[in-house]
Subunit: 492 residues, 2 copies
């Protein structure tokens, strides 16, 4: 409905603008009026157009991730339910005018992921409880120290605790986990001490606040956990998986682009690694929320979420090298075609073997089973790196004819063909750099492998059934089993 | 006081543990009691020790940046002042029991930097105002549509607006600037519609809330802006400056480390570039807050803060290459010493000229004046890159004796000496990669130069006085003038 209206105003705008420009020949007074009218219409139409564009963007956002829409509906329903609490007489008598606190709790605490909601709820409850407890104590002391000292004690205690709590928010550990709780602590402490000074029925107030907050929190936790839940841990897990796939694709893509294989196809994949470069902050906050989540799906309560951060960091260090490769490709216009071709097979082998290592790592994480072939793939990658090193070594033979006739180089016919011609070393530079960066990437991938293996140990990933391990060590059958397992998992 | 207590309990702990272990030979009942007692003491002491360590860390944090301590004191004072508002009878009558909202405003809105505080205040005021306005409208409609429809209309409106507002928080622009305002909007709208249903004196309520919130906001804005202010813009400016210095130092450091010059000195500087890699999130949030800040110091209201983000991104792309250099150095054990020496002077020249370009850029930003020598420095850097390229080219002469006798190579005596010997190309690889990455860094620095020049244009940096420009184009006199300018600026 709203969108249709906006649409029609957008159309109207285009028509009216045409009308306006033809009216400028009318006498002056009418002209001023019409111009004002025109300006007004333009402004409204412009506003309508902006709103329309905004709605379009919003629609795309919602269509992109329907879970966001579901979250919005959940918030709407939760808030309406809390309002019902307030409408109903019996509850009104029970929690009093403080039912406001339940509404506030829902608005402030209900977040997108389960972990965030749980963490905010616990922070809110414990912050309120601790502050209430302390405030009652301070109030009791102030009450027993005479009328003169009462405001002084309250003022000084508010000042000291507010300063200390604010300071604690600067400490990284507190900031990451208890920021919200600290804020609620200051708020509750000030409110209780100050209003205790007036109202003088502190325990009633404390009881009411705590009970309404617990009602709001339970509702939020229930809604976020049992109605289409979005788990921070699951998001982190998916992010790492996605980034791993992107890294593997980028690696393939760059090698293919450099060696001019299938340019159009490669181009789409290239930018993938940039996501890896920029996902540090997201990973950290997700890992931070994930630790508050109870066991869910395939993750138990003490799932080693921190290890995902380490994997992310190791992947990022690969991505830095890919970014440097990028520069290499752009400046590599003066490469000698021959050199490029000479190294292309071994370079492509390194890039494909290292991307298949990453893909296997992604599979380990996706299926949550230890892989029997990862060591083999790493070995393959290392031997590909060695081959590349040998090819580079044999290149020196091209420049030093007396060394060129070593037996290991006999297999390559182009070599002897070129050894007499002069090759400009200049054309070699970016080829060599490319090869060197590929080798560096391979060595950094080994660090990722280590982190993933650490994760497999910490999280207790199972080995595949012994039968599988015994019958097919690496063969295509095992490969198929893996894919079957993945498909069943994806369906589930 | 607290710290001393903790200290003594820590000492006590160590002594008592000794006592306890010698008591295990005493009869059983006494043994159990003593063990419980011991366990309890251990627990308390352990807790004390943790608290002590925590306090020590907190002290370091405070000593590191005294402005944080000042901020804490400011929050404490502001909160105490608001409590005074509440103690004073006349004000109590004026703003009523809603004085609570003033306290809440101070606690929630008062943030570390001026920009954050201002943005939160504006968000809070406009969110409250807009929501109050809408809620009164909805309430009026509900009032005039009969008792049956009243709760229905209110419920549906709460549901729709809460869902829509929650959804808008997912839109990146809204998330960055109006996240808090949207939350306040939902909160106020629900509170006003629901309590309007009961209290039936909506305008009084709205008036009270708005006035208390404005009191709280004014206090916060006043305190954050006029008492030892911390400007988000200034922080961003300092961060970019600091990162530029670190980048220049890292560049110098790596070149020095690679060529084994002054290892101890170099090592401290190396890690600097990692700050550049990780500062994206900080930069973005600071730039986001900075746009809310009024003119202050050397920055006017519409200072192009976004441009700093672009400079940061360009610097980061340099840092990626330095990270790749890092890998190069670690794997460069098998370099031929001769090759390294052969290229060392030109490599060091590239790194020193590019780091001096960065230093000059840092100076442009620090002094906020356009530099007359930046083009010259960039030219110098480019010619250093060309020299390096030529050296690399001439290397090919080493491998191709017939080409070695070209006239441009006559100046280097080592060359003819080596042209007859065989050089393992393997030892060349990391040297060439190092050189290639240095050239890539130089080309990325040019991107930084462009962004800084764009900043200079957007922010209207002044040229140095024409006299200076005319008399000394580059000479040491101009250099001195720059340093003088910086010193005066630093003093100011």
């Amino acid at each position: 409905m709203v969108q249709q209206k906006e649409m029609s105003s957008g159309v109207e705008w285009r028509i009216r603008v045409g009308d306006g420009s033809s009216e400028t020949l009318v006498p002056e007074v009418a002209g001023v009026a019409s111009r004002v009218w025109l300006g007004l219409k333009k402004m409204i139409a412009g506003f309508g157009f902006t709103v329309w564009r905004f709605l379009e963007k919003a629609w795309d956002l919602g269509a992109d991730d329907p879970r966001k829409m579901i979250h919005c509906l959940k918030v709407g329903i939760a808030l309406t339910v809390v309002c019902l609490f307030y409408y109903m007489r019996p509850l009104y008598d029970g929690v009093g005018g403080n039912a406001m606190w339940a509404i506030m709790t829902v608005v402030v605490v209900f977040e997108n992921t389960v972990g965030t909601t749980v963490s905010k709820c616990l922070n809110r409850v414990f912050g309120t409880f601790l502050a209430g407890f302390l405030a009652v104590g301070v109030h009791w002391v102030a009450d027993h120290s005479g009328e003169k000292f009462e405001p002084l004690i309250i003022g000084v205690s508010v000042f000291l605790l507010a300063s200390a709590a604010t300071f604690s928010r600067f400490i990284p550990t507190v900031k990451a986990r208890f920021d919200y709780g600290t804020m609620i602590f200051i708020l509750t402490f000030s409110l209780v001490t100050v209003s205790g000074y007036r109202v003088d029925k502190l325990f009633d107030l404390a009881h009411q606040r705590i009970s309404t907050i617990i009602i709001g929190c339970s509702l939020c936790i229930f809604a976020s956990m049992f109605v289409c839940p979005i788990w921070a841990g699951g998001e982190l897990y998916n992010l790492i998986n996605r980034n791993m796939d992107k890294l593997a694709n980028s690696l393939d893509g760059y090698a293919a682009e450099y060696y001019n294989q299938s340019e159009e196809e490669a181009h789409k994949k290239l930018v993938g690694y940039k996501c890896v470069l920029n996902s540090k902050a997201t990973e950290e906050s997700l890992a931070n929320w994930a630790r508050w989540e109870p066991a869910h799906g395939r993750f138990n309560f003490r799932h080693p979420w921190k290890q995902y951060l380490k994997i992310g960091a190791a992947m990022r260090s690969c991505a830095y090298c890919i970014e440097a490769l990028n520069g290499c490709i752009n400046s590599g216009n003066q490469d000698s075609k021959f050199m490029k071709k000479y190294l292309s097979s071994s370079c492509l082998k390194v890039s494909s073997s290292s991307s298949s290592v990453i893909k296997e790592l992604a599979k380990i994480i996706k299926t949550m089973t230890k892989s029997s072939i990862i060591d083999l793939l790493v070995g393959e990658m290392n031997s590909a790196v060695e081959d590349l090193q040998n090819d580079l070594k044999s290149l020196s033979g091209l420049f030093n004819p007396p060394e060129a006739e070593t037996p290991e180089n006999d297999t390559k016919p182009e070599k002897t063909l070129m050894s007499t011609a002069s090759i400009p070393l200049m054309g070699l530079i970016s080829v060599v750099t490319f090869a060197c960066l590929l080798m560096e990437i391979a060595s950094r991938i080994e660090a990722v492998v280590e982190e993933v293996e650490e994760l497999a140990n910490l999280a207790g990933f199972q080995c595949k059934s012994k039968q599988n391990q015994a019958s097919t060590k690496i063969g295509p059958a095992d490969e198929l089993n893996d894919e079957d397992a993945m498909k069943t998992l994806e369906k589930a």
